[in-house]
């Protein structure tokens, strides 16, 4: 028993860096950002140090609301697209033979490790007016003039889905892999066709993975504004773009208020996820 005590003291010591990290990089920095959001603009250090709610009041102005809506719309659509591609992909991947699954997994993970900026530049080149894709389509005779592919909304969605799809595939595939396939066979045996068995058994039982994937895709897609700049030509303003602009124009309090709002949205998504998980009992493993 005494060794247990020593052990627990030792482990508490091991946890120290974690607490320090959390204190500095989460608590202090968040307090700083949220603190700034309640102050007015100042000359010397960017803020005047006086308490005000004016920044939050300004968030209700249509220009800000529109930007926020743009971000939410992009994130929601990206999540839906990732779900409709990533879940079937993850399902099929989990049903592969172990060897083939490892190969597919590597094909997914290796690009994911590569710098995303470089990969997005790759897409830019591919989609350019005189880029390989247009040239290819022209040579096939399918199109006469190059299509405008780059700097479109479609290109932004393509980039978003491309960047975030693995985050949907992984949890989906894990959930399907963990699923005891004999329950699906049991459903078939009890008279359910393949689709019926899929929707009454496979989907509910892999829902935790599916939901985790949605959260994992939705949250970063709220913040990936550089994709919008690089593939969409920066035509639509997203919250991230706006925060960047505000910082560049030295309006730190307003940038902080917008950031705080983004934090709130993210927190709400996670809270919702927790709530759904708590009530159905299915998400408890997450």
């Amino acid at each position: 028993m005494t060794t247990d005590k020593k052990d627990s003291r030792f482990f508490r010591f091991l946890k120290l860096p974690m607490y320090l990290w959390t204190l500095v990089f989460v608590f202090v920095s968040l307090t700083y950002v949220i603190g700034l959001s309640f102050m007015g603009r100042g000359e010397l250090i960017g803020v005047d140090g006086l308490f005000t709610l004016a920044n939050y009041a300004r968030l209700r102005e249509p220009q800000y609301l529109k930007v926020l809506l743009n971000s939410l719309k992009l994130a929601a659509l990206t999540t839906v697209l990732c779900l409709s591609i990533g879940y079937p992909f993850g399902y099929l991947m989990a049903r592969l033979k172990p060897g083939a699954r490892t190969v597919v997994l590597m094909l997914l993970i290796v690009p994911f490790w590569t710098n995303s900026l470089i990969r997005i530049f790759g897409w830019r080149i591919l989609l350019m007016g005189n880029g390989p894709l247009n040239t290819f389509l022209q040579n096939l005779g399918l199109i006469e003039k190059p299509l405008k592919l780059l700097n479109t909304e479609g290109a932004v969605f393509l980039g978003m889905v491309y960047a975030l799809l693995p985050l949907m595939i992984m949890p989906s595939s894990n959930a399907v892999e963990k699923l005891d396939y004999s329950v699906v066979e049991a459903a078939r045996d009890l008279g359910a066709g393949p689709l019926k068995a899929f929707f009454t058994i496979t989907v509910p039982l892999t829902l935790p993975g599916l939901m985790a994937g949605c959260v994992l895709v939705f949250i970063p897609s709220m913040g990936l504004f550089f994709l919008n700049d690089m593939l969409g030509g920066g035509k639509t303003l997203l919250t991230g773009n706006l925060i960047q602009n505000l910082i560049n124009s030295r309006d730190l309090p307003m940038a902080s208020a917008l950031s705080a709002l983004m934090l709130l949205v993210t927190g709400a998504v996670i809270a919702l996820y927790r709530k759904v998980g708590g009530s159905s009992g299915q998400l408890s493993m997450f």
Binding site: D180, E185, R188, D189, G191, L205
Partner: protein
Amino acid sequence: MSEQTPFLRLENLSKDYGQGMVLHSLSLDVDAGEFLTLLGPSGCGKTTTLRIIAGLEDATEGRVYLDGADVTKLPPEKRNLNTVFQSYALFPHMNVFQNVAYGLKIKKVPKAEIQQRVMEALQLVQLTGYEKRMPSQLSGGQRQRVAIARAVVLRPKVLLLDEPLGALDLKLRQQMQQELKRLQKQLGITFIYITHDQEEALNMSSRIVIMREGRVEQIGTPEEVYEHPATLFAAGFIGQSNLIHGVVDKVGEDGQMTILSEGVSLPAYAEKEYHPGDKVVLCLRPQRVRYGSEPQHGLDLQGLILDKEYSGGMQHTHIRLGDTLDIRVMSQSSELDSYQIGDKVHVGWSIRHAPVVPDNPAEEAQ
């Protein structure tokens, strides 16, 4: 249904998973209302056979007929039979009631009827009052009974059971064996039951199919496979036997014969025809051998008691016949207490209880 077409017919079923044949042209007829057990060691193809009947696996070759119709190409949901899976495969996100009601809901049975039939099925497996429990809140035996209720509530023509008692402890196992037998009688459904436990097979079945390496070794009633094993494998797999290798010496009337093993002449019996010089194995059940001071069953055989041990009212005796041939004998301990190690006794058996099978070194069990 006419007498000519069997209720369930498996015709030349073969299965190849790509790594060698798992089933070799297996054929089998099952009558309605039978309790048929597929018995064999793991890897003998019994689960594959069951999965092909259920439609969960395609046969590489061969056909399956159910109630006169060819169902070989039908998907599992279109076959009028249900399976109790080895792992039970209960739906973990549904409670007991929803699990049992699943098949009825799929078939769009009216709600009131679902309610009634589920409650009946739960009563049948003695789980009334457990409707709201989740599978994770049930014991192994209870889960097993939910799995049975879920299958029988659909009133299938055939119930397939894949080692349903494999995960239960001995006491529960024996209790569930009785319950399954009762259930089968009560419902009158054909049971096809898989086990690797020969005792379970002998206790429950109306017929046993002994399988080995994807082939049928023997089909018969428990009594037939026990008393008249058809092959060396069957003799070794079912019950305990003295397997005495020898050659046929003399062949007499009505299947009677003597075989010669290690210099001892042993009376035996076979339904098949053998010729002097054939290599055979005599399967002598330890319970069928008698010994005493008088000649037994009119045989002139002498033995020497090598060893005795008691266990649970039974006495196990090792007796040497001739110079080197040792056999095990099992008897009620009270009768033979007076004999000591080293005593000479007369040994014998009823010839009907001394079947021979062809010798085949590759076939011996274990």
